[in-house]
C-alpha cells in the first residue's frame, strides 16, 4: 500500500494497474456504530479501494428501500453526525481514503467551515453531496479548497452538456455518474445509459469518472469496469450486512461480496 492515501492517488494507482477502482458505501451506525466501522474496515481488507461513509439522515430522498431501512435503524440506534469521524479515522488507518456521503442539511447544521475542518482532522478525504449542486455550493467549495478536501458532485443521464461541464468543473477527486434515473438499489441491468453518460462526461473533463446506482455483483462490476474509472456499490453491501444472525456471519458475507466485486473490476479489461 502506498503512503499516499488521497482519492486521486488511489484512482491513479488503479489506472496504472489497468483496472477500475472499487468504491464501497455503507452507512455509519448500521447495524450499530461499532459494527458499521468493523464492516467498513472489512471491506478495505477484502479489496475495496475507497470507502463512502454514509451519514444517516431522516429524509433520504435519493435512497431506495434497503438503504432507507438501514439509515432508519441507524438513527433509532442513536447514531450521530460525529460518529462519521470515527469511521473516517478507522478507514484511513486501514489504508484507504474515506469520503463522507451526506445530505446537505447535516453539514449545513454543523456549519460548513467547521465540518470541513473537523473532517480533515479526522482523516477524511472529502465529501460526496447527492442533494447539493455546484450552483449552491460556494461555501463548501471555498472550505474544501482551504482544507484540501475532495468534493464529489453527481451527474445524471438527464444532464445536458452545459450541466455536465458545470458539475465536472466543480468536482475534485472524481465525477460521480449516477447511471440510471432513480434512487439507490440493485438493478438486473445497468443498461446502456451508464456508458453513454460516462462518455459524455469524459468529453468535458479529465477527471476520473466513477459510476454508481444499481451494481450488485462481480459480473456487473466487470461490465462497468470496461469504461469507468471506478465502480460504486452501495445497496448490495448494505443488503449483505442486513441479514439475520451473528454479525460475524454477516461480515463474512460482506467479505465474500467484496472479493467478487474486486475480481469484477479486475476482469473488466480496458
Amino acid at each position: 500500500m502506498s503512503a499516499e492515501l488521497g482519492v486521486s492517488d488511489v484512482l491513479a494507482r488503479c489506472r496504472a494497474e489497468g483496472r477500475a477502482a472499487l468504491i464501497g458505501y455503507l452507512p455509519v451506525g448500521f447495524p450499530d456504530v461499532e459494527g458499521s466501522i468493523r464492516a467498513m474496515v472489512a471491506m478495505v481488507e477484502s479489496g475495496v479501494d475507497i470507502v463512502e461513509v454514509g451519514l444517516p439522515y431522516s429524509d433520504p430522498l435519493m435512497d431506495g428501500p434497503v438503504i432507507q431501512h438501514a439509515v432508519e435503524a441507524a438513527l433509532e440506534g442513536g447514531t450521530h453526525v460525529l460518529d462519521g469521524f470515527r469511521a473516517t479515522r478507522a478507514i484511513r488507518d486501514a489504508g484507504a481514503p474515506a469520503l463522507v456521503m451526506s445530505y446537505w442539511n447535516l453539514i449545513l447544521r454543523r456549519g460548513v467551515d467547521r465540518y470541513a475542518a473537523e473532517l480533515a482532522a479526522a482523516g477524511g478525504a472529502g465529501l460526496i453531496t447527492p442533494d447539493l449542486i455546484p450552483d449552491e455550493a460556494a461555501e463548501w467549495i471555498a472550505a474544501s479548497e482551504r482544507e484540501g478536501l475532495d468534493r464529489v458532485f453527481l451527474v445524471a443521464p438527464s444532464s445536458t452538456p452545459e450541466r455536465l461541464s458545470r458539475v465536472a468543473e466543480a468536482c475534485r477527486g472524481f465525477v460521480y455518474a449516477a447511471s440510471t434515473m432513480g434512487v439507490t438499489g440493485e438493478r438486473s441491468s445497468v443498461g446502456s445509459s451508464a456508458r453513454d453518460l460516462v462518455e459524455r462526461t469524459r468529453s468535458v473533463t479529465d477527471l476520473p469518472v466513477c459510476v454508481g446506482l444499481g451494481v450488485s455483483n462481480g459480473d456487473q462490476a466487470a461490465e462497468l469496469a470496461q469504461y469507468a474509472d471506478g465502480v460504486i456499490v452501495g445497496t448490495a453491501f448494505v443488503r449483505a450486512l442486513s441479514g439475520d444472525g451473528e454479525l460475524e456471519a454477516r461480515l463474512d458475507a460482506l467479505r465474500e461480496l467484496t472479493a467478487d466485486l474486486a475480481r469484477g473490476v479486475r476482469e473488466g479489461a480496458r
Binding site: Y57, L61, E72, L108, R109, D131, T160, M181
Partner: protein
C-alpha cells in the same frame, strides 16, 4: 447561488438529475404567464370550473367576539373541491400538458391538494398518483376515497413518520425515476425553484380579487390580512397583492399544536434555517440537522418547514407570524360554525383564531381580511371526536336502520 432566492431563502437543493426538469418547468411557466392563450384558458377554467371569483362574506356575529373589529372572509372554501388548492392545481395541470407530459404525481397531507390534483387530472385526462403518509390516510379516510373515485392511485407511505414530509420524499423518488413523462405537481409554496414562486403566482388571484372586493365593500384597504401557514400557499396567495400596501399588516398563523412546550408546528417560534425538500427556510431540526416531527390537529399545517418566501417576509419584517394552539383553533372553528353557519377547515380555523386576538387589539375601527382557505367537511370526524359529538362507543356514521321497508344498506352509502 441559483435564481429563485428570497433573500437568503429558497434555492435548489436537489439531486442534479432533477435540474433539467426544473429548468424546463421554469421556462414553461415563464412563457405561459406571458402567453395570452394560456392566461385566457386558465381564466376560463377558473370562471366555469373552479368557481371564481370567490365571494367575500362579512361575519359580524363572529366579529362580536373579536373586540368588534370588522371581519371579512375570503371564501376560498367555496371553490370546487373545497379549498384554495384548486387554483394552483388547474394551472400546473395546464402546464403539464404544455410540457407534453402525461402523468402527474402529488403529495398530500390533509388530502385537499390530493383531491384537487386528482380532480384536475380527471378533467384533463392525465394519469395521477398521490402519495400520502399512512397516518394521514387513516385520519383523512374520506379524502382517500374521493381521490380514488376520481381515478387517482393513492399510495400510503409507511416510511419515517408516515406523514406529509415522508409523502414528499416518496414523491421526489418517483419524480427522479419518471421525470421524462411525469410532472411533480407540488401543492404549496415550497420545494426547489421555481415552485415557491410559481405556486404563489397561481394563488395570487386570491389577493387580487379580495383587495378589490374589500375596497368596494368598505371603501378602504383592510388594516390586516390574516391567513394560516402550513407550507404557506394560501397565505402567499392572499398576501402577495398587499405587499406593496405598506399600511396593511400581514399576519401568518402557524399551528401551535399542544403549545411550544409540547408537540407543535410553530416553525417561526422555534426553528432555525435549514434545507428540506429542495429549499432553504426555517426548519424544525435537532442538533444534528435531522428533521423533527411536527404536530397539529390539522393535517394540512403539520409540516416541519415553511415556504421560503414566508421566511424572507418574516426576517424582513414585512409580515408577522404568530401561532394558534389546537385548543384555540378548535374554539374558533366552533365559534364560526355557531355564529355564522360556516364550517371552516381546521387549517383555516387557525387564521380565525389569529383574527380573534388581532381584532381585540385593533378595536371597533379595525378591518380584518381573513383567508378562509378551505371548508371543514373533511374535518367532521376530527371535530366530532374533539367536541365529543358522539358517545364513546358510538360510531360517527349512523347505523342506517330505517322503518322504510325498501331501505337497504347501513347508511354509509347515503353520505
Amino acid at each position: 447561488m441559483t435564481a429563485g432566492r428570497f433573500g437568503a431563502f429558497g434555492g435548489r437543493y436537489v439531486p442534479e438529475a432533477l435540474i433539467p426538469a426544473l429548468e424546463q418547468l421554469d421556462e414553461a411557466r415563464t412563457t405561459a404567464m406571458q402567453d395570452p392563450t394560456f392566461l385566457a384558458e386558465l381564466d376560463h377554467l377558473h370562471r366555469t370550473y373552479t368557481g371564481r371569483p370567490s365571494i367575500i362574506t362579512e361575519v359580524p356575529r363572529f366579529a362580536a367576539h373579536a373586540g368588534g373589529a370588522r371581519i371579512i372572509l375570503k371564501r376560498e372554501d367555496l371553490n370546487h373541491t373545497g379549498s384554495h388548492k384548486i387554483n394552483n392545481v388547474i394551472a400546473q395541470a395546464l402546464l403539464t400538458k404544455r410540457m407534453g407530459k402525461s402523468r402527474v404525481i402529488a403529495e398530500t397531507g390533509a388530502g385537499q391538494h390530493g383531491v384537487a390534483t386528482a380532480t384536475a387530472a380527471a378533467l384533463m385526462g392525465l394519469s395521477c398518483r398521490v402519495y400520502m403518509g399512512k397516518v394521514d390516510t387513516e385520519r383523512q379516510a374520506l379524502n382517500v376515497a374521493r381521490m380514488r373515485m376520481l381515478g387517482a392511485e393513492v399510495v400510503a407511505v409507511e416510511h419515517g413518520s408516515a406523514t406529509l414530509k415522508d409523502a414528499i420524499n416518496e414523491a421526489l423518488r418517483d419524480w427522479v425515476t419518471n421525470v421524462e413523462d411525469t410532472h411533480y405537481l407540488i401543492g404549496t409554496v415550497t420545494g426547489p425553484h421555481p415552485f415557491p414562486e410559481m405556486v404563489r403566482d397561481f394563488h395570487r388571484i386570491i389577493g387580487v380579487e379580495a383587495r378589490e372586493q374589500v375596497l368596494e365593500l368598505t371603501g378602504r384597504l383592510p388594516d390586516a390580512v390574516v391567513a394560516c401557514v402550513g407550507g404557506g400557499s394560501n397565505a402567499m396567495g392572499i398576501f402577495h397583492r398587499f405587499i406593496e400596501d405598506e399600511g396593511v399588516r400581514l399576519l401568518g398563523v402557524e399551528a401551535g399544536g399542544e403549545g411550544l412546550e409540547g408537540r407543535h408546528a410553530a416553525r417561526f417560534a422555534s426553528a432555525v434555517p435549514g434545507v428540506l425538500h429542495g429549499a432553504m427556510s426555517y426548519l424544525m431540526q435537532d442538533e444534528d440537522g435531522q428533521t423533527m416531527e411536527s404536530h397539529s390537529v390539522s393535517a394540512g399545517l403539520d409540516y416541519p418547514s415553511v415556504g421560503p418566501e414566508h421566511a424572507f417576509l418574516r426576517d424582513s419584517g414585512r409580515a408577522e407570524y404568530v401561532y394558534a394552539t389546537d385548543d384555540q383553533a378548535m374554539e374558533a372553528f366552533a365559534l364560526l360554525c355557531r355564529t355564522e353557519g360556516i364550517i371552516p377547515a381546521i387549517e383555516s380555523a387557525h387564521a380565525l383564531a389569529g383574527a380573534l386576538v388581532l381584532g381585540r387589539e385593533l378595536g371597533p375601527d379595525g378591518i380584518i381580511l381573513v383567508n378562509l382557505s378551505g371548508r371543514g367537511d373533511k374535518d367532521m370526524h376530527t371535530a366530532a371526536e374533539w367536541f365529543r359529538l358522539v358517545d364513546e362507543d358510538e360510531e360517527v356514521v349512523p347505523s342506517g336502520e330505517s322503518e322504510d321497508p325498501r331501505a337497504t344498506g347501513d347508511g354509509r352509502a347515503q353520505l
